[in-house]
Subunit: 340 residues, 2 copies
Amino acid sequence: MTRTKIPSKTISIEDVARESGVSITTVSRVINKVGTVKEKNRSKVMRVVKELNFQPSIFAQRLATGKTNVVALVIPRYEGVFYSFYGLEVIRGVGTLCEALKLDLLLHLTDQRTPLNLRGVGGIIFSDIIGNRPQLVDALGKGIPCVVINYYLDDLDVSCIAVDNAGGAESAVDYLIGLGHKRIAHITGDVTTQAAAKRLEGYKRALEKNNIKVNEEYILYTDYSRGQARGAAEKLIKMLQPVTAVFVASDSMALEVMAVAREMGKNIPRDLSIIGFDDNPSGLYGPVALSTVRQPLIKMAEESVKELNRLMGSKNSAAKKILLPAELVIRESCCSLKTP
Amino acid sequence: MTRTKIPSKTISIEDVARESGVSITTVSRVINKVGTVKEKNRSKVMRVVKELNFQPSIFAQRLATGKTNVVALVIPRYEGVFYSFYGLEVIRGVGTLCEALKLDLLLHLTDQRTPLNLRGVGGIIFSDIIGNRPQLVDALGKGIPCVVINYYLDDLDVSCIAVDNAGGAESAVDYLIGLGHKRIAHITGDVTTQAAAKRLEGYKRALEKNNIKVNEEYILYTDYSRGQARGAAEKLIKMLQPVTAVFVASDSMALEVMAVAREMGKNIPRDLSIIGFDDNPSGLYGPVALSTVRQPLIKMAEESVKELNRLMGSKNSAAKKILLPAELVIRESCCSLKTP
DNA sequence: ATGAAAGCGCTAACAA
DNA sequence: TTGTTAGCGCTTTCAT
């Protein structure tokens, strides 16, 4: 005869206490590694915990302590951000470190307007901020520790960790100029994101610094998509006086530009030097390895978890603003114009 | 003089009760929409809830009810799975539907061996199973509702939702054969994943069905990476008796193959017909739009959440096994060998 | 239709 | 070093 499954009563701290012959307080002390417990009792309790496979109820713990180790990662449900090398790296970096720090990672793919459900959330990581500023302000107002990544916020007292996009862009364009290029185009990303805006800024700064006039015609605006990159590339190559080099706001777009150029019979890098941004591994696979600017995405993601963890641990600790350097990575997609 | 922030006492059900002039029980009834409450009281309570911006503590609720609406999404921290179009689509699909269903989404990027912390988790979605089978068995043993996606499990009583990879592959190769191709290669994905293994199976089935002998030399094994795809493509093209068509296990690899072929002076599709798998939007951008097999990833992800939600709602409901069809998408990367 | 009171499983004073 | 006890905020009988 079949039998319905016996409802395996979940075992509680009380069971452990009874079985170990101590009070629940002592058990609590053991599992929380606080206070003082006689070695004999400690080992006894630990043995019973193992035997019974006891796992404390996180809900009871949180109710009792008022604390929570839940971290929410808020990512705009915005294609340009979510569907990108950047998005993936952030999820991976944050996910990995949360796993290591035993923090629960709650993923919120959010649009701009629906308010986040913040009950039970101990801290929030905002991955880029497109239209999520109200939600950030709201969370801050409720006293929830927050960390913003990929967006340097000057006007809000909140920890943020971003990459020096302007500096990275500047060094890329500096490099191009050093190679002898004068007509240098820039294909931007979505300039409503700070990253793209800063890269544009760095591009301009490098030109101006070197007394090259910024030519608005050489700046093509896109939304980070390969489709728009393609359009921009075609436009660029068909120009009456074509540029000799182009700085592209992302590697994935840069690869598209490279493909277009080749389709149109151009040789890379002889006819067109291309430099991207991201250090996306895909850049390695083509016939010509893509030169780029590496941004420490995983590091940024991991730092954000560490910082949030710090904030969650201590009350009233000051916000930190961190700008991570970006690094020029020279490979094969740019050539010198100088006669040897 | 500066002042330390006043600890904004979190408001509880008791505050609402007092303010509304009813008992906490009544408030509980209102917020849970159960039992009977006089309309007058109900509206009064609701008004106060709004005023005080009261949000019930999920921890207290869960402690009291023993129920939880936390869904864990388990993704192998395995590059081939996580770093893929597939991985992203799954995260997005699951994330979006959890958001809609008000389920908390816990993200677990896991390796094979560390056991999952399942306390407080109401249900689990396993996105593909590389080495996570023990964890699945463990969860099932604890009576936690589980849904497996992208892996059709015959031998375990668990709901699973997968794509008909074999069928999809078969129709792709059928199509090639219909075009007159006889020497057809296959670049596999990582065949330790079921998806890749099934695609290989479908490839063979189509050939055999059409009385074309399977030539082991025409099967190139990879790990889904573009790097290995490149190697495989080079090998393929350099063969003494080159194939006229190739079925590639993913679009991202297919694009790499296309790039290699073009670099080696081949014309696509005249010299080599290529068909991929995924319907990755990137396939649209090249000079030749990639023919492919579309798999309903978002649908699979969403269905998994729905199914899990169902399982979590009702005890003892039977496991469902769902196989979603894959659909051939004909674009421009294959050509007919038949003389007109 | 409503409320009093007993938990849910755990932590943290406070006593001993 | 250990145990007793009072909550944490909510749900849920069981009376009323």
